[in-house]
Each structure stands twice: as C-alpha cells, then as structure tokens.
Symmetry: D2
Subunit: 451 residues, 4 copies
Amino acid sequence: MNFSFLQELFSSITQRDALLRRRGDGPPLEHTQVIDACRKLLESDGEASSIALAGQALDGYSCLDEDEKTRFFQCLTEQFSADPEAVDGAYECYRDSRGNVDLQRLFEACEPQRQELLRRLNLTAGGTYELVRMREDLLPRLKAFPALEALDADFSHLFASWFNRGFLVLKRIDWNTPAAVLEKIIRYEAVHEICDWNDLRRRLDARDRRCFAFFHPAIGDEPLIFVEVALTRGMPERIQPILDANHEAIEAEDADSAAFFGISNCQVGLRGISFGNFLIKQVVKELKSELPRLKNFVTLSPVPGFRAWLDAERQDQRGRLDDDTRALLAELDQDDWLEDSERSKALGEVIKPLAAHYLTKERNARNLPLNTVARFHLGNGAELHRINWLGDTSRRGLSQFGSLMVNYLYVLDDIEGNHERYTTEGKVACSSQVRDQRRRARKHLKGDPVT
Amino acid sequence: MNFSFLQELFSSITQRDALLRRRGDGPPLEHTQVIDACRKLLESDGEASSIALAGQALDGYSCLDEDEKTRFFQCLTEQFSADPEAVDGAYECYRDSRGNVDLQRLFEACEPQRQELLRRLNLTAGGTYELVRMREDLLPRLKAFPALEALDADFSHLFASWFNRGFLVLKRIDWNTPAAVLEKIIRYEAVHEICDWNDLRRRLDARDRRCFAFFHPAIGDEPLIFVEVALTRGMPERIQPILDANHEAIEAEDADSAAFFGISNCQVGLRGISFGNFLIKQVVKELKSELPRLKNFVTLSPVPGFRAWLDAERQDQRGRLDDDTRALLAELDQDDWLEDSERSKALGEVIKPLAAHYLTKERNARNLPLNTVARFHLGNGAELHRINWLGDTSRRGLSQFGSLMVNYLYVLDDIEGNHERYTTEGKVACSSQVRDQRRRARKHLKGDPVT
Amino acid sequence: MNFSFLQELFSSITQRDALLRRRGDGPPLEHTQVIDACRKLLESDGEASSIALAGQALDGYSCLDEDEKTRFFQCLTEQFSADPEAVDGAYECYRDSRGNVDLQRLFEACEPQRQELLRRLNLTAGGTYELVRMREDLLPRLKAFPALEALDADFSHLFASWFNRGFLVLKRIDWNTPAAVLEKIIRYEAVHEICDWNDLRRRLDARDRRCFAFFHPAIGDEPLIFVEVALTRGMPERIQPILDANHEAIEAEDADSAAFFGISNCQVGLRGISFGNFLIKQVVKELKSELPRLKNFVTLSPVPGFRAWLDAERQDQRGRLDDDTRALLAELDQDDWLEDSERSKALGEVIKPLAAHYLTKERNARNLPLNTVARFHLGNGAELHRINWLGDTSRRGLSQFGSLMVNYLYVLDDIEGNHERYTTEGKVACSSQVRDQRRRARKHLKGDPVT
Amino acid sequence: MNFSFLQELFSSITQRDALLRRRGDGPPLEHTQVIDACRKLLESDGEASSIALAGQALDGYSCLDEDEKTRFFQCLTEQFSADPEAVDGAYECYRDSRGNVDLQRLFEACEPQRQELLRRLNLTAGGTYELVRMREDLLPRLKAFPALEALDADFSHLFASWFNRGFLVLKRIDWNTPAAVLEKIIRYEAVHEICDWNDLRRRLDARDRRCFAFFHPAIGDEPLIFVEVALTRGMPERIQPILDANHEAIEAEDADSAAFFGISNCQVGLRGISFGNFLIKQVVKELKSELPRLKNFVTLSPVPGFRAWLDAERQDQRGRLDDDTRALLAELDQDDWLEDSERSKALGEVIKPLAAHYLTKERNARNLPLNTVARFHLGNGAELHRINWLGDTSRRGLSQFGSLMVNYLYVLDDIEGNHERYTTEGKVACSSQVRDQRRRARKHLKGDPVT
C-alpha cells in the first residue's frame, strides 16, 4: 500500500521517542507501586482508560532498580496467578461432561491473570517492545529464582503468538537503510564483530554482499534477527577473505553460491521464539528470485565449543583419544604451528575427522548433536557438507573453534527429508566427504569399533 | 522507518494476489482432505515445512462448499480438542501442589489443539486474513450448530491477542489513498450508504470532512474499522445537510465541533474484538492536534430500534403509554405529518421525551440500555447530550429511528468518570436537557410515578 | 514504482491546496496590476523576496477574466522583450570579434526578459504547474493574436528544458494508485473514453492490463502522458473485445503481445514538448523486464481523419477514385452494411487498400503522412504492420475511422533504421501485407500508374 | 519529510549504480571520440536514439584523462558555438523589423549549440548529476584556459533553469535518513568538520539539533546544500559548547533561539547557483511551524579572513592601526594569552571594535563587504547582530577568525527592508551594540575622522 510508510514512520518515531524519554527518567519507585498500577489495569474493563493505565505501569516499571525488579517479578508470579477454586470448579464440570465448552471454561480458568495483564500492557504505544525488554530483564533471574519460570512461560506463550511468522516482515538491509537501523546491526552482530561504519558498509553494500532482517511492525526499527550473505564463486572455505577490508567484489550475477556467514539474534527478550529457520528459507527464496544463477545455498559456520571438547578429551587420560593422536595434538599447544604449513597440514588431517565425529556422534541427552550450531542447521534440514581446516584463523577462531569453519548446505529438495530423518531418527545428513572423515576418526578413537 | 513501505507494498500485493487466485479456483474438495492437511500441519514440528503445509490447508479450505465447511468446522471442534487424560493428570498435579508451574502445565494441557492449529495456519502469507474470513464463515453457523461455540472461542481468544490495540495502525483516509482501499470504504460503510465515488469524495475529501481507519499490518489494505467526521460550526442536529451533495464546505480552521457521523466495522470475522472505543479516542487526539480550536467532540448517531420499540408500545393496549399519548402518536401512521410543520413539531414534543426514556431507562438483562448505539458510546464514557427530532428524515431514518439522531458528547475530562459510573452503577451520563426530557416522559407513561 | 507517490503526495497536498484556494478566489483584477507585480518581481534581485513576489503575480493572474488575460499576454509580449540598443551593441562586438564571449553576451542581450520572468514565477511552490496552465490559456489565443507567438516561444524554450526526459519519472498506474491520480486518468483519457470507476478498474487492474504514466516531480500528481496496454495472445485486431466489460482476463505470463491501445497527453499547456516517444520505449523496456516472454510490442491505433478523407474523395467527381470504387463505397451510406457480413467483407476489401494508400502516400507539405497518428508512430521508428477492417465498430470508429484500427509494430532492432529512413528519405516502413494492399489500391485510384 | 527519500532511493539506486559501473571502467579514450559522440547526439533528431547516444557520450567522457578532458572542453567551446552567418542574417532581420518574432529567431541563432548538447546529454538516466560533475571538472581549468568561460556560461545558464528553487525539495536530515545520504553530510560539511558517525549523530539527532538539506529529484540522494541548527536558550556566543560531545541536550520546546551554525554547499559543480538564501528562509518557516515558541533565528558564523586582514594591517607600518593598538595586538603572537583571562579580555576589547569595522567598512570594488560570510547574510537581509570574542577557540578559529564568531540575526519583518537598503545603498544593518563597537574602532584607526 502506498501510504502505510507514513504512519509507521510517524508511529515508530513517536514510540521510540516516548520510550527513550520514559526509561529511567522518573524518580526511583518501589515495586509495590507498579504492582498496584498493574492491578488497576487488570481491574479496568480493558477499554476506556486502559491505554493510559498500561503506559503508567510500564513507566513505573522502568523506574525500578534491579532489586525492585526482582521483587516485581516475584509479585507478578505469586499474586497474578489463577484462582484455585475457579480451576477446581471448572475442572469438575469438565470431568463430568468432557465437553468442549467446559474445556474452554477450564482453559480460561487456568490462564494465569498475568497473561491478560501482559496483553493489556501491550495496548500502549511501544508496549510490545517494552515487554520484550522486560523479559530481557527477567531471563537472567531465572537461575536464582526458579519460581519465575511460570512468569517466563507466560511471556513465551504470548510472544510465540505475537511474533508468529505471519506477522514478520523481511527487509533487505543496505546502505540506503536508515542509520538508526544500521547502528543496531553493528550492535547486534554476534558472529563476526563489525568494527565500525566502514566495516559495516563493506559487509552490506558491496556488490557481492547481502543482508536481510526480520522486523515486526509493532517494534518498528528494531531488527529481530538478521543474516549476512556473501555471494561467491564456489562455496567458500574460509571466513577471513570474506571479512577482509580489501576483498575485491565480484559481480553478483557471476556468483554461483550464496554463503550465509553470520546469523544474529537481536532481541534477548525473544529467546526461544524461533525465527532463524524461517529467515534462512525466505532469504534463499529472495536470492533465487534476484539471482537465478545461484546454485549453492550454504553457510560458513563456526564450531563453538569444539576446541573445549577437544581439549577435554586430550586431558582425559582415560578418554577416548588414542595415544598417538594425543601426542600429535600436543602440537596445538605450540604457538607456531600455524606458520608451518607442513605441521599445520598434519594437524588438519587429524582434526577434521575428529570434528566430523564431534559434530555427528557427540550427542546430548535428547540424542541431538552437542554442538548448537550443528543442531540449528541440521534441524532446519541442511546437510553437514564440509569441514574447513583453517577456516577461521582469528584469535577467537583458533581458541574456540580449532580454526574450523563448517559449510552446512541447504538443498531445497532435500530439506524436508533431511529434517524428517533428523527429528524422527536423529540421523544427521552428511556429504560423502564428511562420512569418510567420520569413518577415519575411528582410528584416532579408542574403543570405537570399526563397523 | 524509511523503507518499510516497500516491503509492505510488495507483500500486500503478493498476498492479496495469491489470495484471489487461490479462493475457489481449485476443484471441490471434501472436508476430510482439509482435516488431513490440518493434522499434517499439527504433526509437523512447526518449522521446516509448516509454511507450505499451512498454505495447503488454507487452499483446501477455500475449495470446500458450504456443507463441507460445516463438516470441517465440526471435525475441528470434535477432533482437535484437548486430551482428557492429559488434563486429568495435569489437574491432579496442580491440585496437589497448587503451584504456578503445575498451573502452567494444566493451562497447556487444557489448550485445545485448535489454537495451535490456528497459530500454524497463520504462518503462511496472508493467513491472518484468511482466518478472519474463516471465522466469518463460522459465525452464521453457531445458531444451528451450538457445539461450534467452542471453536469460535478459540478464534476469539487468538484474535483478541493478535488484534491487540498495540498492533493496530491508525491512518487517515482521503483522496490520496489508493483506490484499492477506498473501494473497501464504499463497500463497508454501514451507517449512511455511500452511493458512488463522487459521494465518497464528498465524504472524505471536502475541507470539512475527515475519515480515519484502523489497519493491521498483516492484513494489509483491508480496513478493520473506520469513522467519518464532519467539522462543523456548532454541534449538528441533522444528518441530511452533512450528506448533502451540495453542502458548502467550511474551512477546517473555522470549525468548533467534530461530529462523528459514521462508524463502520469492516470485518465480520472480527466480531466481538473491540476497536471502536480506541478508534474514537485516538481520532479525537489526532483532530485536537491538527485543529486546536475544536471544542466539541460529538457523534451524530442513529437510534436503531427506537421506532420498533415505540410501535410495540403503541400497539400494546396494556402497555405503558397513556391514551392521550397513544392518540397523538397515531399521527405517525399518516404519511403527511412531515410536511406539516405544526403537527410535526407537536409530535417531536412527545417523541423526544419518550426517546430520552427509551435510551436511558429501557434496559436489557444486564441492566444496560437496550439500544446498542447508546450502549457503545455510554460504555466509552460519552454523555447522552441531545436528542434531535427530524435528525434523519430519510426513509430509513423515519421508519427505523423515528427521525431521531442523537448527539453523544465526548468530554475528555469526564470520560473516565462517566465510564466508571456506567459500568459500576449502570448510571447513564445525561445533559440537563436530556434529563428534563426524561422527566417529561413520565407524563406520557402510565405507572411511572413522578419521583 | 508506486512508492514515489509519497513525495508527491506531500508536495501535491501543499501545492494543490494552495492552488485551489488561490484560483479564482480573489476579486477580479486588471491586467495592469499583474503586469506591475511581474515588473516588481523582475526588478527584485531574484532572491530575497522573489518567492513571495512570484506568488503574488500568479495569484493576480488567476483573478484575471478572459479579456484581461489577453491583454496581460499582450503586455508581456510587448513590454518584456529585449533592449534593442543592448542587442545592437552586443551584436557589434560580436561582429568584430566573432568570439565566444561576445556571442554569449549577444545571446544574453537577445533573451527576452519574459524568459527570466517565467523562471522567477517558477520559484513559488506550485509555480511550474501554474505556468503550464498559463500556457494552456495562451495557446487558443495564438490564432487571433499571432503576435503572442513570441511569448509562446518563450514558454516552449523553457518547458523543453524543464520537462527534459531526464527529469521525468515513469510510474505504473494501477488500483493501488491514489484516487487523486486515477481521477485524472479518467479525465484525460483521450482515445477511448473511460465511463466510470468500474471501467477504469477494468482498464488498469485486470491481470492482462497495464498503464504507465510520466510524472514531473514539481507537478506532483498530475500525469503528463499515459499509455494503456493490453497483454494478449496474438496481436489484437479489434478494440471492442479489449474494452469489453466482460472480457475474460488471461494470465500476464501467457501473453506474447503487448498492445498499446491508448496514449493520452494530459497537459494541453505542454503541447509540442514531446514525451510519447520516450514513454513508449521505456514502457517496452519495463514490460520486457517484467514479462520476458513478450514478443510483439504493437499498437492498436485509430485512423483519425480517414473517413473524412475518403468521403471527400468520394464526393469529388474529378477526384482519384474510379467509378466502380465510388459505386461500391456508396454502401457506406447505408445504415445496415455492418450487419451483413458479405457486404461488409466486400467493403473491407476495398477500404483496406485505400487506407494503406492513405496512410503512406497522402502527405502534407513537409512530405510526411497526413495522418497524425501514423506520423507519430512512424516517426518513432515503428512499422505500419496491419490495417484491421472492423477494428473499431463504435459509432465514433465508424464515423471517423471507417471502422479501421491499425497495428504499428515496434521491433526494437529496427526502430533506429526505420526512424532514419523515415526522417531522411520520408520512407514509411510497412509489412509486406500492407505493401500488397497499397499496391492493390492502385486499381481503385485513377491515374496512379502501376509501377 | 523523510518519506520522499523513497523515490530517490529507487532512482538513486539505478542511476548511481549505472554511474559507478561506468565511471573510469572503460579503456582510456581520446577526446575526439567523445566529441564525435557529442556531434552524433546533436545530429540525431533528439528523440529516437538520443537517450542511448547521450549515455555513450557521457560514458566516453568519464574515460578521458585530465589532459584529454581539457582538450574536450576546448573542442566543445570552439566547435559547438553558433553559426556566424546565421547570427548575421537573423540580426539583420531583427534590426529591420525590431519585431518580437525576429528577436526570437536571433535569440535562437545566438544560442551556442553547446546548450542544446547539454540538454540532450541530460536525457540519459543520471545525466543531470554527471553534468554537474563535468562542470566540477571544468571550473578549475578556467584560470589557465579563460576561453572556456564561454562553456561555463552555458552550464550556468542551464543550471540556473534546472535548479530553480521551484524544483528543489527540502528535507530534514536525521538519524532515520539513509546512511548513503548521511555519509555525504559528513563528507560535505565545510564549516566545522564532522569527525565520524558518532559526531554526526550528535549534530543531527540530539533533541536540540536540526539539519535540513535541499535535494533535486533528478540528482537523487546527493544533497545540494545543508544547514545545521542548534536550538538554544538565548542566542549562543560560542561554537565549542555546541560541538561538544558531552553537551547536555535541552528539550526543543524549551528553546527560544535557533542558531544556524553551519551552512555547507555540497556540489562544486553548482557554484554560483544560489540556494543558501532560499534554504535559510524555508528552514526558518519549518522551525516556526514545528516550534512556535522560537523567537530568534540567528547564525553563529565564522569570520574567515579576519585574522589575515588584521595581521596585514598590523604588519603595514604605514597602515591604519595606531601604534598603541598595534602594540597591544602584539599579544596575539604570544601563545599563552588565551589562558590569561585578563589579557584575553583586554585583547577582546580592541579586537571586537576592529572586527565591527572590518565587517562593515572594509569593502570590495563593488562596495560590498570584503568578508564573504557577511556578504551572504547581509545580502539575505540579516542584521549584523553581535560579535563574540572567543567564539571559536579551536586552532582554526584562532588562526583564521581571531577567535571571533558572529551572530547574524534574521528578523522576518526586517529582512525585506535590510535587503533593500543593502543592495541599493550598500547599507549594512547593525545592532546598536555593533554600531557602538564600530564607533569605538575609530580610536584604534589612524585617519578615521570621527564624524
């Protein structure tokens, strides 16, 4: 539509301004004052004055200090639950009738008042974003105050509904994007830090780079998640040439591969609400339509935790690494192996198979891969395609990923099947190369019988 | 933000196109096929292929004929409920612990599967609007199939969350609005029919007219509700001069009153999700900021049902109207009283008090006014300000409203108090003039002792 | 492309409002008052108060009656010319030096003051459009007052510069276009009248219709020229099926031809400033990029003046038509030939050749085709491709075009060559079919020796 | 106002991309090849293939090296002039008739072919900007090759018409502006350098800062000129607090003054086409409408050249400074006076009067103030309101402006009169304070008789 932009411009500006002016500006409050405001909001009939009451409650919240916030959350959890007698009554009816109408009443009786409260807080302009920020405050408290999990469940329940894929908008981010948004891209980039605006420009605006983000209309210019893409000839093995300030751009039309080299969630307060999967698939669609010659849609992904796993194995004398392998890996403790291509190559020949093992065989309690990045892409239906030695030779790459970068390959026709086998049988889709490497890993591992 | 418009343009076009192409195009289907598609969608893990599955299910639904739709709704209601054993188990835990976590689990166990199904159907582009249309199909079936109320409750629950005020966008509608939107304004106008585009232009685009609508970003160019406003000098008594094709526009800056003369809900499928209250209040805000000289914010509202009520009273010999009054009102059955100003005036002197009585004293079972329009504005905190005889002399105005139009007055400072007294005590805020009229009504009514 | 309306929305609102309020609102003025305002504007230094002075002069102009406008134009022509002594002096310098700098001075000395005046009138908001309207007032006076040609030359000179192709913006017009623009499309359609908004929607918004217009940023939502396109399978012969309210739309992707069936200039005041050629070529580009399968870009054009030419020939006993032909054509004076397919066919067999002759051989003083539409498309490099008997059977089609519609074909690779041969040699590019018809015409024409 | 970027976003993407790909990419060319392309363009009939030919000529130009560019300009000047015989013939007719039509013909005969060439080069997408850049290349050559002045006159003539105020668009620049535009603001800021994006943000986006620019629709996202504004309580005396990274923002609504502290022309190629005056006045209008409480519209302007003038006077023993003053001013050569408030104050007491003298009495050959900034603002109708000692204590402020910053005050009601007296009588509008200072300057100047 032609005009919607105008309104959104207006509303996002005002909302954000209101927000900035509000947060922290007032005098310090006690949590009981905010709890009172919440109660008043719940007691209103949800219409006449609710917007104003919601604004007051959120204003109040923003003036709480850290301790008072904790107490506020505790009160919410304890005092805004459901009425046990109502639940009992509704249950009895349901037990007798087993009818749909009684089920509905039971459902309503069970819904904690907190959910209605959150819905009403959402009435005010900018409320959605403030609730996301409120959950951002809540999450780190869950460990120390496990009772707050109930409150977190309410947030999760509502956010899953509000941030439904159907409400998200995909947008390309480039040098024509307002600075207010770009600045957030710099701030939220989680994978490979963006140093400054020049670095950002290289990442977004070169002919062979793309960046896409999901936005939510009520949250305005705050991205929810974004992905950075490099258009390349051939699937890239290494991240440094991609990040290189002096990289020579190719024409987008000449690329055959799109490499997703950074996916960053922006809103801590939306943890657990999954967008990444939808984002990747829609970006694949957008890119295919812009550049029909693209053939490979692949990631260039880190292997967080691999080096820690490897070091633990190395230190565990009764562990699974055999002694020769352990001896060879001692090289890693030397500073200079990276400069010596021969030693480096020898190390790679051992580590790649071990990584293939780590990524596919090391599992958590739910029989899913230990590695979170692997879990994400395999769960999306990607294939573990290639393990790249010296893929990331930055300090962080060496110390955390053992220099490895992994290509996960998204083959549109296989996604469904891969996903199915992964979720039902726990089967990890691998290229033949990775399968070979995994097989070769056995000779480095004690007690992994060759089958 | 600068660019959001681009995306929305794109998405709204594609979505709407997709929609149009889909609806009804396929071969007729049986409801079991769509039920199967729904089941498949629910069994997916909500990510990998859900968007496609949701699209298939909605496509399928659009190919059902009326009978199959009924059966589809019945299957949804019966087969996608909650698992009684899971509910029992969760209840037992809750009964024992009375804890928040167990309450949460019970809440989840009680949630009918239908709700998750609706959330997943919403994943696909344009899904939100198709769900609204699905409920539009459902509502007229509730009478014949009361069991479907449970399904309707699920729609209501989700729509109340999705169409939260915080997600709506207010937009001015004028002659610069895309034709695709304006055409819907013509179609949805419920109060005073818009004949054609010329009539529309007069309503929207004259210097002394305004029109505002609420939109929802995921529904694109479909308005949810809109209001038409006339800027006037003095509060208007009569609708015909406002609708008159030859009315002479005044400068907006010269107006002291903004008269809301038409509020139309556009989406049947959103019945019960209330926007009107929020709309009026935000429009008052917009107008005040555009035109600081405006002093009165008032409606010019119809009195649907008044004539029917009056006629029933007239015919009921044992009713409350005294005989003199009944005799006088017999004039109404003559065709020509309207032309005779004396007779007309005499009639008005009787009817206005009776209307004051009707609007304030005739109540429904919940002790709220019988008249729906009165209920809406009084519930919003407005005052019943003036009853205008000959306010609407159109055929419809005469036959349904007894020619009356009513001004409900929104005084910002009083809204809160009026609303409070109305909801708690059932007290109707009236101007002294209306109070006088109500008092005068007693002499026409038997058995209404003068107190 | 739609989104560019935003800027214009803004500017057009302010400008147009200003305009509307101004035009005609003031008391009647005399031309001398406006001339004084113009003189004051010219005497200002072009900066400090020029915007206000320009506004006053244009306001004043809008309050002149028709006679005073004539006098105003005459004063402008006579009193705002160049200074003869300055011209003489500058010419003498130039004659002596033949230098570039002296040429420049002479050029400046020759420039009528009117041009600087028009540039300054353009300073005010909305001024550009008001000057276009002023020339619209001027043009019809040229015949009676040929001295005003000098003033018209000034307008032409400036407009050619201001409305340079580089400043125009192409936009697609569809149902998402603001009503304020669409209403102008209805008004300006010159070829096949648009009856109402429903008709408009069919023309623009069907899947197999397109409409594009040129806009100028300073003129806002006033289109300069627009073209209507039908996407068809095969080149269309007849206009009625295209305009038919019940025509069944095809999928755009299935079309192999784009038929330009209406090109309308919107601004009389821009007569002689040519856009049509640029418009057609850019629209061909846009369509090729949207729909790569399109093969034929062709017009379906009327033949204005053909019937008048034919009737004149018929009536001229000493004219070129031989007697048999004249006898046969007498059928045309019967009302019922159209219903009789045999007679109609026989007529077509005579008239098509005569039309081929008319379109290619009947020339004006500059040796270009008499027919203006032919001149336009042939001058653009199109080929005269096909003459369609019964192409337009509307009353107007019959009475003015002899029911003919013509396809002019734009073959991108031939445009340059066709254009070249047309402009240098006067050669008309024809399909072999048209060449045959032209040859066959000879047997109907006296004294056209068979060569 | 932001929203107009949309159109430009679109156009700038295409245009700029084209441009970037073109510029410098091709093999080096000789100027004769480009001259040939220009000739071909002029010989075309201005329609059929002109856009392509214009593109080729501009492409060619971009591949010329510096020497070839000079030769290209020389050829343009010499070979694309007017035809002397045509001029002679047209003049003779005019001399005989003195008629308007003959004048028009003479005007056309005198117009150098270069102007038509430039108009045709402008047909291609992005052509306008490339022509501005071409003049940017031309200007530095004028000194060495004065014959090129004729060519420059052609550019000036056309640019004055194309960049007419009526075609410019004012836009607010803030943090929601696309980065592509903001980056240019950083680059073009001429008065007080912007260090980086953080600095930019402070300048634009603080609550008490505003920035506005003029854009031209055909040039897209390239600003023509922009102004930075600080909203302050009281007229500011010093620039450092305004530029200070840690300045504490006030609420815009609390400001009574708007201080224009930086006006930067962005396009060298538009030198001599004046926008600044229009910009200031329109910004005053915008600000008044946004913030009705603003009372003072004032600049905080540098005094470029003052220190050089002062030093020259100091060194000229026979100059006008009397010996005491010269002795006192010797302090300036010491490094440490700035730290010593007493000495600094004493210096100020001498220098402010001398600056008042310099700004008002030191004139150029046209009897206008020597100082360019003074000339600009006084010519716009501002008043020389206050001279601020220690107004700019940056290194540059000290070495070039003698630490002075000047407030020029724009009083809307006086602008017209000030401007009039300035242009007709050379009279400089001064506050009484400045008049006092100017009077006091006499005691420091020899031979300035007290009048």
